[in-house]
């Protein structure tokens, strides 16, 4: 019986040490996100408040506007938040409050903006400018395919 208990303890010790190491320490790959900030004053043309989905607590305001140079930006307010513990949340502009992906036809209903991993104020430079048809902002968990929230821009 002592040998059996020792074997259990040894097995647990070994299994803890044999964890798959291909995720926590994997360097995060990045896409090219323009980190430019607005020049001068940011003027909002359209804005909307986030509606949370699926219990994620998404909140805050999204604004579409331009800086003093006329460069278009998407801004999230200081109180922007969501459930970042689940991983990457990707921001999309959309023609509706539902993410309609159609990769075979070039995804005409959505335009990717950037991934976000934290809350608070954010600016996303939009170059080229977003088409007028994109009047919603969607927060999307790409891995699971679950919406985290949306804001209708008015």
């Amino acid at each position: 019986m002592k040998n059996l208990l020792f074997a259990f303890g040894l097995m647990i010790f070994v299994l803890i040490g044999c964890d798959d190491d291909d995720d926590d320490d994997t360097p995060t790959q990045t896409i090219t996100v323009d980190s430019s900030m607005p020049v001068g004053m940011f003027t909002s043309n359209m804005s909307g408040t986030f509606t949370e989905q699926n219990g994620t607590g998404s909140a805050g305001t999204a604004q579409l506007g331009v800086d003093s140079d006329g460069t278009q930006f998407l801004r999230f307010s200081n109180d922007f938040t969501s459930d970042f513990g689940t991983g990457t949340i990707t921001v999309y502009l959309s023609t509706s409050d539902e993410a309609m992906f159609d990769p075979a036809n070039g995804n005409p209903e959505v335009r990717i903006v950037a991934p976000v991993t934290s809350g608070g104020e954010k600016f996303f430079k939009l170059d080229p400018e977003a088409d007028a048809q994109f009047d919603h902002v969607i927060l999307w968990c790409g891995s699971a395919g679950i919406p985290f929230g949306f804001a209708e821009l008015n």
């Binding site: 259990f8 647990i12 803890i16 798959d20 790959q29 990707t90 790409g142 891995s143 699971a144 395919g145």
Partner: protein
């Protein structure tokens, strides 16, 4: 009244122990090693609404054991030895899981044995396990193999073997006192269940179980289904065990989630299948 040595539930969302009133006597031993597999694209969110998502897969190997210490006491172990998690759109991540270690005490013996089991669930698993997307180079999702918290479970169980019939019944209720992870609090949970067992031949047991699981109060923190905050469900489970020697038995199990008692919330729902082998000393 002869006690019944039975295989343990495979259904990993119900990880607990001591779900019968019978307690191992001194030096009696039961060990079970089981493998289970589960795939689903049917996610019930925190409001109970059904979403079709990318398919989630989970496989687990679980070690369960009971050992009698004598004087109405036994120790119980339920350890997720290794678990694999992934979506069809991501890598698969894996690692050891958490372990429940408890002490079971026989409050009453005889025709209606009653037991209580209390113990901590130890967070042996890495609390964050990020699986990278296989589609985008920036997407990742957190699929930990444990919930990252210390919690304490207490189970009260009662059983009865019907006189002159190869049938028994057990009723149990578990309270899970949860703590927190990275300053995110968790709600306490309760689960209760009924189990009926039938022995058609001496070497075989067939069990049917009904479990109901609920979180208490409104969800407090993160919504990810892996850590179970706000999760509730009803589950139906069937197990067949066959003793092919005096000491060894094979176990097969299937379980599925329903809304019969507690509604499915924050849960991937699909049938779960498992196979295991058990060893006993009595």
């Amino acid at each position: 009244m002869k006690r019944i040595l039975l295989p343990f539930t495979f259904l990993l969302a119900l990880t607990s122990a001591g779900q019968s009133g019978w307690v191992k006597e001194k030096n009696e031993l039961y060990i079970q090693l089981a493998y289970s597999s589960f795939q689903s694209d049917q996610y019930y969110n925190l409001d109970g609404a059904l979403l079709k998502t990318a398919e989630f897969s989970q496989q687990s190997t679980v070690l369960y054991g009971e050992y009698g210490l004598g004087k109405n006491f036994a120790i119980l172990l339920n350890y997720v030895a290794y678990r694999w998690n992934g979506f069809e759109t991501t890598q698969t991540v894996s690692g050891t899981g958490d372990a429940f270690l408890g002490v079971q005490y026989a409050i009453n013996e005889g025709e209606f044995p009653i037991s209580i089991t209390v113990g901590p669930e130890i967070p042996l698993a890495r609390a964050n396990r990020f699986a990278m997307s296989t589609i985008n180079d920036f997407d990742r999702i957190n699929l930990p193999t444990g919930d990252g918290e210390w919690n304490v479970k207490a189970t009260l169980a009662a059983s009865h073997r019907f006189k002159d019939l190869p049938v028994y019944a057990s009723l149990y209720s578990t309270f899970n006192y949860r703590t927190s992870f990275e300053d995110e609090p968790f709600s306490n949970q309760v689960k209760t269940g009924l189990e009926i067992g039938y022995q058609p031949i001496k070497a075989m047991w067939i069990q049917a179980k009904l479990h109901a699981f609920a979180s208490l109060g409104e969800p407090k923190g993160g919504s990810d289904f892996i850590r179970g905050e706000g999760t509730s469900f009803t589950a139906v489970e069937f197990t067949v065990s066959y003793s092919f020697t005096k000491r060894w038995m094979a176990v097969a199990n299937t379980a599925l989630y329903t809304d019969w008692v507690a509604q499915r919330k924050n849960l991937y729902s699909a049938p779960n299948y498992g196979l295991g082998i058990a060893f006993k000393l009595d």
